[in-house]
C-alpha cells in the first residue's frame, strides 16, 4: 500500500518535472530569439546567423538555422510534445508515465548536447558591430515554416516510439498503446509530409535549378522516416483489427525513430555532401559513436564508444529479446487475397524503397571506408531504383482498400475492379492515341503508367465512396451526396485515408509531368526572342538594385503565349552583403497545365547582356495540389467519428414490417 503511494507520488513528481523541463527549455528558446531580434551580438550564435539588416521574421528563424539553435529547437519541440502528453496523462496513467520516462531519456541526450557540445549561448570576446547574416538560401518566407514543420515531424515520431517501447518494457496488455498513439503518429506524419513538401517548394523557388526534388542526402534524410512511418500507419491496422504483426509494428516504430535520428545526424554532421551545405562538426560522434573506421569526419578519440543511435538500438533489442513472447500474433492469415496480405506487400515495398534510398544515401560513406574514395550517388540511381517500386505501391494503393479482411471472393474482386480497370484501360489507350507520348523513352513509359494506375486508383476510391453512399442512401432515405457525407462522418479514419490516397494519386500525376520538361538557355539582349514550348520570351532590359541586405541583378522579360502578351517576368540574382553569398530568385508563370520557369543565369561581361535559362515544367502545380489533398485527408482522418444516425423509416412502414414479422418496436413489451 505504502509502496503504491510512494510510486504514485514519484510518478506525479516526474510528471511535474517534465512540465518544468518544458518551461525551462521554452524560456531558453525565448532568450535566444530575443537576442536575435534585438541584435545582441555578444552572443556568438546571433553573430553567426543574423545581422542588423535582416528582416524580423528571418531573425526569428535564426533559432533553427544554425547547429546549436536547431538542437535547442529539437529540445523545445520534444519537451512541448512531452508537455502535452503529460497534461493528457489521465488517458492511461501507468503507460503515460512509462512513455514519459522514455521521452525523458531522449530529452536528456539532447539537453546534454545543448549544454556541453553545441551551446547556443556561447559569448563573444569582442562584440562585433554587425553579424555575418543568415544563409541567403534560407531568406525565403517558406524557410520560416519549413524547418519547424519538418522538426515537428522528426520529433513527433518520438511519441509513438516512446509508447511502443514503454508498452514492450511493461508487457502492456492489449493494443491500447496503438489506439493512444494513432493520432500522435498521424500528426507527426502530417508534419513530416507538409515539411518535406514545403522543402520541395522552397527548392523549386529558391535553388534555381528548376526542380523540386534532387535526391540530395538531406532530402533523403527527411524522406526515410516518412516512408517507414507510412508503413507503420498501415500495418498498425492489422494489429488493431486482427491482433497480427505485433513484432513488425514494434520494430517499425523503432526503425522510424532511429531514421529520424539518422536524419538529424546526416543533416548536422557533414557525413555526406549536400547542396544544403551544413558544416562538418564533431556532433556526429554523439549520434553515431566514434569507432574510427566508418568514414567518420568527427573521428578524434583513440578509443571507441557508442553513440545515441547504437544505445537506442541496444535498448530496443534488449527489451524485444526479453519480452518477445508478449508480441505473439493472435490470428493467422486466412487468405493470400485479403486486406492483410495487401498490407504486408505495401509494407514490403515501403520498406524496400526505404532500404534502397538508405543504401544510396550511405553508399558514398561505405565506398570511402572500403575503397578510400567517396563516390557520388545521385538522382539517376534513385530514379532507377525507386520509380518502379513507387508505381507498384501506387497500384497497391488502389487495390488494397478494396480487399476485405480475412479473405476476398473472386466475385467481389470482379465487382470492385471491373469498372476501374476499364476506365484505366480507356485512359491508357486514349493517351497513346492523343500523341502526347510520341518519341517514347523509359521516362515517358513510367509517366504513362502513372496516369493509367492513377486512373485505376482514383476510380476505385470513387467507387468506394459511391457504393458505400448508395447503401446509406437507401437506409437514410436521402440523396447520394448527403449519404456519402454521412458515410465519411461514420468512419473518418477510413474515408480520410481514401482522400489521402487520392492526394497521392494527384501527386504522382504531378511527378509524371517531369517526363515532358523542356529547357532552353540564351543571352537576352533587348528585343531578343527565346522560344520554348508555346511561349516566346522577349528581352526588355537589364536592371541592378542595391539595398541594405543585398545587391541584385535582374532581367526584364515580356512573355507571350501563341503570340498573345501574358505577363512580364524578372528573374533575379542577389548577392548578400553580410555573407557574400549569391542566391537565385527564379521567376515563374504557373498554370494548372505547366509552369514557365525562368532563371537569371548571369551577365555576359563582354556584351553586358543577361543570360537566362527558361524551362517549361508540365503539371508541377498538381504536386502542390496533391500535397494539399493529402494534408486535408489526414486532417479528416484525425476527426473523431460521428455517432451513427438511426435510419429514418416512415412510422407506418416500420410498424407494418414489425407486425409482419410478429415483432415489437424496441422498448415495448408484448
Amino acid at each position: 500500500m505504502r509502496k503504491d503511494l510512494v510510486g504514485t507520488r514519484l510518478a506525479e513528481t516526474a510528471r511535474r518535472a517534465g512540465i518544468a523541463c518544458f518551461a525551462a527549455v521554452f524560456l531558453a528558446a525565448c532568450a535566444l530569439v530575443y537576442a536575435a531580434l534585438t541584435d545582441d551580438f555578444s552572443v556568438a550564435y546571433v553573430v553567426n546567423h543574423s545581422n542588423r539588416a535582416l528582416p524580423g521574421p528571418y531573425k526569428f528563424a535564426a533559432l533553427w538555422s544554425g547547429q546549436e539553435g536547431s538542437i535547442l529547437f529539437w529540445c523545445l519541440l520534444l519537451s512541448a510534445y512531452g508537455f502535452v502528453l503529460r497534461l493528457r496523462h489521465k488517458v492511461d496513467q501507468r503507460l503515460v508515465a512509462a512513455a514519459s520516462m522514455v521521452l525523458a531519456g531522449i530529452q536528456i541526450f539532447f539537453l546534454v548536447l545543448v549544454n556541453f557540445v553545441a551551446n547556443p549561448f556561447g559569448m563573444m570576446r569582442t562584440i562585433p558591430p554587425d553579424g555575418n547574416g543568415l544563409n541567403p538560401l534560407l531568406q525565403y518566407p517558406e524557410m520560416v515554416i519549413h524547418p519547424p514543420m519538418l522538426y515537428l515531424g522528426y520529433v513527433g515520431v518520438a511519441v509513438p516510439f516512446a509508447f511502443g517501447l514503454a508498452a514492450l518494457i511493461m508487457r502492456y496488455p492489449g493494443e491500447k498503446w496503438i489506439h493512444i498513439t494513432r493520432r500522435w503518429t498521424m500528426v507527426a506524419w502530417l508534419f513530416l509530409t507538409f515539411g518535406i513538401s514545403l522543402g520541395g517548394h522552397w527548392a523549386y523557388n529558391v535553388l534555381g535549378w528548376g526542380g523540386y526534388w534532387g535526391w540530395d542526402p538531406v532530402e533523403n534524410a527527411s524522406f526515410l522516416p516518412w516512408l517507414s512511418a507510412t508503413a507503420f500507419l498501415h500495418s498498425v491496422m492489422m494489429q488493431e483489427k486482427r491482433g497480427m504483426m505485433k513484432v513488425w509494428n514494434v520494430w517499425l516504430i523503432f526503425t522510424t525513430f532511429m531514421l529520424s535520428i539518422l536524419g538529424t545526424l546526416l543533416t548536422r554532421s557533414g557525413m555526406v555532401s549536400s547542396v544544403h551545405a551544413f558544416a562538418q562538426s564533431s556532433i556526429g560522434a554523439w549520434f553515431a559513436g566514434d569507432y574510427g573506421w566508418f568514414g567518420e569526419p568527427w573521428h578524434s578519440m583513440p578509443w571507441a564508444y557508442p553513440g545515441f543511435l547504437e544505445i537506442i538500438f541496444a535498448v530496443c533489442l534488449w527489451f524485444y529479446i526479453k519480452n518477445r513472447d508478449h508480441l505473439r500474433s493472435e490470428n493467422k492469415l486466412e487468405s493470400l487475397v485479403s486486406r492483410e496480405s495487401s498490407f504486408m506487400f505495401n509494407n514490403l515495398l515501403l520498406l524496400g524503397v526505404t532500404f534502397a534510398i538508405l543504401c544510396g544515401t550511405l553508399f558514398p560513406i561505405l565506398s570511402e571506408a572500403i575503397r578510400g574514395y567517396k563516390i557520388t550517388v545521385g538522382a539517376p540511381f534513385f530514379n532507377k531504383v525507386t520509380i518502379p517500386m513507387g508505381l507498384f505501391l501506387l497500384f497497391l494503393t488502389g487495390v488494397g482498400p478494396l480487399l476485405a479482411w480475412r479473405s476476398t471472393s473472386v466475385g467481389s474482386i470482379r465487382r470492385n475492379f471491373t469498372v476501374p480497370a476499364i476506365l484505366a484501360a480507356i485512359v491508357g489507350i486514349g493517351l497513346i492515341a492523343s500523341g502526347w507520348f510520341s518519341g517514347w523513352d523509359l521516362a515517358k513509359f513510367y509517366s504513362w503508367l502513372a496516369f493509367v494506375i492513377g486512373t485505376l486508383v482514383a476510380a476505385t476510391i470513387a467507387s468506394e465512396f459511391f457504393r458505400g453512399g448508395r447503401v446509406l442512401q437507401s437506409k437514410l432515405n436521402t440523396n447520394i451526396v448527403f449519404a456519402m457525407y454521412h458515410l465519411m462522418r461514420r468512419n473518418m479514419r477510413r474515408y480520410g485515408g481514401y482522400v489521402v490516397h487520392l492526394g497521392i494519386v494527384v501527386l504522382f500525376i504531378g511527378v509524371a509531368g517531369l517526363a515532358f520538361n523542356k529547357e532552353q538557355e540564351q543571352e537576352m539582349a533587348p528585343g531578343t526572342q527565346l522560344k520554348i514550348g508555346h511561349y516566346t520570351l522577349v528581352g526588355q532590359e537589364y536592371t541592378q538594385d542595391d539595398n541594405a541586405n543585398y545587391t541584385s541583378e535582374a532581367a526584364l522579360l515580356d512573355v507571350y503565349k501563341d503570340g498573345k502578351f501574358l505577363t512580364r517576368l524578372n528573374p533575379e540574382r542577389r548577392l548578400f552583403h553580410a555573407s557574400g553569398q549569391p542566391s537565385t530568385i527564379p521567376a515563374k508563370y504557373s498554370t494548372l497545365g505547366e509552369d514557365l520557369y525562368v532563371i537569371y543565369a548571369g551577365l555576359n561581361q563582354d556584351t553586358g547582356h543577361p543570360i537566362v535559362k527558361a524551362l517549361v515544367n508540365p503539371l508541377v502545380s498538381w504536386v502542390w495540389i496533391g500535397v494539399l489533398i493529402v494534408t486535408f485527408g489526414t486532417g479528416l482522418a484525425l476527426v473523431p467519428n460521428a455517432a451513427p444516425i438511426a435510419a429514418q423509416v416512415p412510422k407506418a412502414v416500420a410498424v407494418a414490417a414489425l407486425e409482419k414479422q410478429d415483432m415489437q418496436p424496441a422498448g415495448v413489451s408484448k
Partner: protein, 153 residues
Amino acid sequence: MKQLVRLLLLPCMVLLFMGADNQEARFQNLGGKIMCTCSCEQMLLKCNHVGCPNSARMISELRTNVQNTSNDEAVLNWFRKKWGVTAVVEPSTHGFELMAWVLPVAGLGLGLLLVIVLIRNWKLRTAPVASADIHLNPELEALRARAHRETEI
C-alpha cells in the same frame, strides 16, 4: 477478365521495347548522370553558373563522346577516368560499385522471402491463438457477421 489483362499488358510490352535512340536524347540522358565538377553540386546540364570554369568544357566533351561512342557506359567511364569517380552520379555496374545496385534488390528479395516465410507460418498454424478459449455465442456471431457485412462493403 483474361482478355482485359492481355489488353492492359500489350501496350506495356510494346512500349518496353520502344526506346528513342537519337543522339540528343542520349546527350540529355547522360548529361543527367554527370555532375559539374566546379563544386556547385549540380548536374552538368543544370549548372547555371555563368563563367563556370568546367561546365562548358565538360558539355562539349560530352557532345563529342556521344557522337563518337555508341556505348553509354563507355562515355561515363571516360568521364570517370578524366574527371574522377565523383563526376558520375550513377554508380558503375561492375566492381565494388555494382554493390550499390545489388543491395536494394537483395534487400527487397530478402524482404519478400521473409514475407513468404511469415505467410507460410501463419497458414501452417493450426488454430488462432486467441480463439482457443472463446466460447462462441451464436447470437454474438450473427451480430458480428452482420457488422462485417455492413462495414466491409
